[in-house]
Symmetry: C2
Subunit: 112 residues, 2 copies
């Protein structure tokens, strides 16, 4: 994702949030969307993405439905109700994280 360790733990939140906005997306689409929205600065590794999607599904936060475009299969993911609630929680965790970093590193990291 990036050579920094800081991104660890953020992938599942990114997935959840993108699905909150886009209703349904498939894995490859998520990688493209992230690249696009960060101007190519953040690239999601598929070796991280697919296991993460499978885990979120196993936790009951996502549902999956397979579709075919020609002969190429796509797995569309969508948030469950539980997933919607969890997305809100995870976003709060991120704002808490930023708040704590702000308190510790004092500089100009602020919450809008």
């Amino acid at each position: 994702m990036n050579n920094s360790q800081l991104y660890k733990g953020s992938l599942s939140l990114i997935i959840l949030k993108l699905l909150e906005e886009n209703k349904r997306m498939y894995g490859y689409e998520i990688t493209q969307k992230v690249k696009e929205q960060t101007n190519g600065e953040l690239v999601i590794n598929e070796g991280a993405l697919y296991p993460s999607l499978h885990k979120l599904e196993a936790e009951g936060l996502l549902t999956v439905s397979i579709e075919h475009v020609g002969n190429r299969p796509r797995k569309y993911y969508a948030l469950t109700e539980k997933g919607e609630a969890e997305t809100v929680n995870r976003l709060e965790e991120l704002t808490d994280f930023v708040k704590h970093m702000q308190l510790l590193l004092n500089p100009k990291l602020s919450l809008g």
Copy 2:
């Protein structure tokens, strides 16, 4: 540190930044300072702290000097030149991380 995975990778930056501000600190002091500055919200696990300090030292970012208060030993850590440079880099990585999260999650996370 917190039940959220988001904090992974942030401990070494916290250590570096506290040492940048305080010149020299020992492990236990770092745990207390973090607790204090975050109003008890963030608690550093010693099982994470000590290995992290040892690693930063092994990487040449910190130097250590042992002192005794009574019979109780303290290991004071301080930044090396390399450590000072790395602290700047890691802070940039954090602002990049926040910037990218802002782009992806769009909400009200802003850089001051």
